[in-house]
């Protein structure tokens, strides 16, 4: 019996080897590779499901108990049959595993010709850095081509999930992880945080914007010469733009809704109890201090999760001015 099993197992491996070799070849497009992999899996799964449920239903009808004292046939087992339903699933699993391994290599091995960008997760948003060092919040602009995204986090574990490109990877504080994707078509592709990170988890969304090379170059140029246009804005408008860009709205509502942090509207002039029991009346100075160092005077009823922000003096003032307009 042992000999028989060894022989069958060897045969199983031989059947799967040519298949393995074919699957190990590198596919040009990981998205296509994943889609093919899904189709293979789906066909196998439907067959397996039918192989289990059809006989089950058939036997239930065919061998229904006819009279009270009836007993089933006395069958202990059948070695050949049992070996068959050990070996066949084994072959199927080896085949699927080899194919999946190949897809995994496609999804993880970064091609030589690529640009590198950086994404840093925070509660609740993504800071993105272009190869030129331009910082954006919750949108990553890239030219058509292969892009490697280096990932890290400022606070807790987040995840940079990019379903359109069939890839994702966690952003772990204190560690460096990566993913890559091949941006072929200009357009917008959603990014989700896929590792649970607290109150704002389901609003931690972003997008990858793939641009034609010339559009991208124009965007870079505009960003570099940005200073002149921003200076012309009023503090309130600039503050609004900053609050949106920095991702503040992930945790703070502006229409009275309580998220991970207090709502921003009407907060200036409000009497607020701090964690140590003292009461303060919130003014613009308090707001500016809180943005720079949120842990200094924690207010009652919220966690200590807001990250500190190092901004320019007029940026603090712009944000405070904007919050003052929210009623």
């Amino acid at each position: 019996m042992l000999k028989q099993m060894v022989r069958l197992l060897t045969a199983a491996l031989f059947v799967s080897l040519p298949y393995a070799a074919a699957a190990a070849e590198r596919v040009a497009d990981p998205v296509k590779a994943w889609n093919n992999h899904f189709k293979t899996w789906a066909v196998v799964s439907i067959v397996v499901y039918l192989v289990v449920t059809v006989p089950l239903i058939y036997f239930v009808f065919k061998y229904k108990r006819r009279h009270k004292d009836e007993t089933g046939a006395y069958i202990v087992g059948n070695t050949a049959l049992e070996i068959l339903w050990t070996i066949v699933p084994m072959i199927i699993i080896i085949m699927l595993g080899v194919q999946s391994w190949a897809v995994f290599n496609d999804l993880r091995d970064v091609p030589k010709d690529h640009i590198e960008v950086k994404a840093v997760g925070f509660m609740y948003g993504f800071e993105m850095y272009s190869p030129e060092g331009i910082k954006t919040i919750n949108e990553l602009r890239v030219p058509v081509g292969n892009v490697k995204v280096n990932l890290s986090s400022k606070d807790v574990i987040h995840d940079f999930a990019l379903p359109a490109f069939r890839t994702r990877e966690d952003m772990v504080p204190g560690e460096n992880t990566y993913l890559w994707f091949s941006a072929k078509e200009p357009g917008e592709y959603p990014v989700y945080c896929a590792e649970y990170c607290g109150s704002g988890h389901s609003s931690m969304l972003a997008k990858v914007i793939v641009m034609k090379q010339e559009d991208y170059d124009a965007w870079v140029k505009k960003q570099k010469g940005e200073g002149t246009t921003v200076a012309a804005l009023t503090p309130e408008t600039k503050g609004k733009e900053l609050v949106e860009r920095l991702g503040c709205l992930g945790c703070h509502g502006i229409a009275g809704e309580i998220k991970a942090g207090p709502a921003l509207n009407g907060v200036i002039g409000k009497s607020q109890e701090l964690e140590d029991g003292t009461k303060v009346v919130i003014d613009e100075a308090f707001v500016k201090e809180k943005i720079a160092d949120p842990k200094a005077k924690p207010v009652k009823g919220f966690g200590h999760i807001m990250p500190p922000n190092a901004l320019a003096k007029e940026e603090y003032e712009a944000i405070a001015a904007y919050i003052n307009t929210l009623k």
Partner: protein, 531 residues
């Protein structure tokens, strides 16, 4: 032979394995209802996935945290390793009680204590919102009172380790004369595998959460990546136990399905030896799978490959078991009583969970669906609903034995079909969301899935209604059911050979066993061979 003590105090101070078993059953059913209630709340919130319906994000996060913990740690594991192991193992192996009856009582009361802490975590300020996984750094820097979580795990861990020691000893040393390993019920084999996993795994989980406690309250930095620790370390330690914990539930379930199918087909279980071997293989290989929870956590690429093979290898012994069940039905004499329906319904749901679980195990496949609704759908099919349903089937099956009453057959079957129809559909839409890569644990979702999620909500309500009917059946029949005969199913298994309910010391004399529990229709000539 002493008589059965009665009264409230006799329950409170009991060391009788049957009374402890019943207390486990009642307590775990209470947590099942808590879990159902939270499921109902979360599903209601999903009626509109674009704006708040009844609860805000924070309450939603607490709801799924406690739902997961209640269902896995306080319902499924206790109903199997608490109720079933306690009540049935001594009866099935022919013993008066377990090896350490007082330790057994301690296990139960520790479990109750842990449960009370879990309920506190749900209602007191600093509500637990970390997910049942409690990943740092969120569980350290977040607003939750992580101490609740840690202490609940500590108490439950002590309970589980004591229980594992107790039952492993019982199975090894207290088997009646002639009760060889080859004559054990597969339920006992499954529980044996489950207890081994508990003994090896739970201490690791306890260590993991203890370090969490140190990090949060004593300022250490085991899990702080910026100070030389690593949050990934916690994920490894947590899943080293928490993935095999799935098999702690699954192995006894496999055993019960075998027992029920054999009894109601009046046919020897097909391939008994391969069934027992498959259980032990899963017990061991179950510890070589945990990194699939870290497939996208920044672990080294080659470790992910190694654990892919470990994970999908589990499909082979599981497949063997499924085919053996089918072969047992073949040429059987099948009676579709309520427990049998539950066993067959289990197979139909579990297979959906099985094939989608292979997908999760496949490294390349998983990258797209990791931490998405696909995973939620998968584990509700493979574990949550299918195995909860099977636990109901197990309670139906042994109901005459431990209550001495018959359950209501008609209501039992109706409740079964309602539960099954609900369960078949309730999580299907979420495979679609997962295929599109939509993450789980999202309070609100992209609006294009609103219609599908509403279907999921309606069928979840149906599932919940089915379960509530089953629970009503239990309560009503325990009070008003007809008196049950000692062996209503004409089973050959040892627990059915004594009166229902069993007398205080189970067996007047320890029986001598001459044959296995599945030898239906065995010819008088016993020279039949395995070929």
């Amino acid at each position: 032979m002493s008589t059965q003590p009665t009264g409230f105090k006799s329950w409170l101070l009991t060391t009788d394995h049957k009374k402890i078993g019943v207390m486990y059953l009642v307590t775990s059913l209470v947590f099942f209802v808590v879990g159902l209630l939270l499921a109902f709340i979360m599903r209601t919130e999903q009626l509109d996935i674009t704006k708040k319906v009844i609860i805000d994000a924070d309450l939603y996060n607490t709801a799924f945290t406690i739902h997961g913990a209640a269902m896995v740690l306080f319902w499924m594991i206790p109903v199997l390793l608490g109720f079933l192991a306690n009540y049935m193992i001594p009866l099935m192996i022919g013993a008066h009680d377990v090896a350490f009856p007082r330790l057994n009582a301690l296990s139960f009361w520790l479990y109750v204590g842990a449960g009370l802490i879990a309920v506190m975590a749900l209602i007191l300020p600093g509500r637990l919102d970390t997910g049942w996984t409690g990943y740092p750094p969120y569980s350290i820097v977040g607003p939750a009172n992580t101490a609740f979580y840690v202490f609940a795990v500590h108490l439950l861990g002590a309970s589980s380790i004591a229980g594992a020691v107790n039952f492993i000893t019982t199975i090894i040393t207290l088997r009646a004369p002639g009760m060889t390993w080859g004559r054990l019920n597969l339920t006992v084999w499954g529980l044996f595998g489950g207890f081994i996993i508990q003994l090896v795994g739970v201490p690791v989980l306890a260590a993991a959460v203890t370090l969490l406690l140190f990090d949060k309250y004593l300022g250490t930095s085991f899990y702080d990546g910026t100070k030389g620790g690593s949050p990934i370390l916690y994920e490894h330690l947590f899943w080293f136990y928490a993935h095999p914990a799935v098999y702690v539930v699954a192995l006894p379930v496999f055993g019960i399905v075998s027992d029920i199918i054999s009894t109601f087909s009046r046919k020897r279980i097909y391939g008994y030896t391969s069934m027992a071997i498959a259980i032990m293989i899963i017990t061991v290989v179950g510890f070589e799978t945990w990194v699939h929870h870290l497939y996208v956590a920044g672990t080294l690429n080659w470790t992910r490959v190694v654990f892919m093979w470990g994970t999908i290898a589990i499909g082979v012994p599981t497949g063997i078991k499924t085919f053996n069940w089918l072969a047992t039905l073949h040429k059987g004499s099948i009676d579709l009583k309520t427990p049998m329906l539950h066993a067959l319904g289990f197979i139909s749901l579990f297979t959906i969970g099985g094939v989608t679980g292979i997908a999760n195990g496949l490294l390349g496949f998983d990258i797209q669906v990791h931490d998405t609704h696909w995973v939620v759908a998968h584990f509700h099919y493979v574990l949550a609903i299918s195995m909860s349903m099977l636990c109901m089937g197990a309670i139906y099956y042994w109901f005459p034995k431990f209550t001495g009453k018959m359950y209501n057959e008609k209501l039992g079957k109706t409740a079964f079909w309602i539960t099954l129809i609900g369960a078949m559909i309730a999580f299907l839409p979420q495979f679609h969301l997962g295929y599109d890569g939509i993450p789980r644990r999202y309070w609100k979702l992209p609006s294009q899935y609103a219609g599908e999620m509403r279907i999921a909500v309606i069928f979840s309500y149906i599932t919940i209604a089915g379960f509530l009917m089953t629970l009503y059946n239990f309560v009503h029949s325990a009070i008003k059911g007809e008196k049950a005969p000692a062996n209503p199913w004409n089973s050959l298994s040892l627990e059915w050979q004594i009166p229902s309910p069993p007398p205080f010391y189970n067996f007047e004399q320890i029986p001598t066993i001459t044959d296995g529990p599945y030898e239906y229709g065995k010819p008088a000539d016993t020279t039949v061979k395995a070929h």
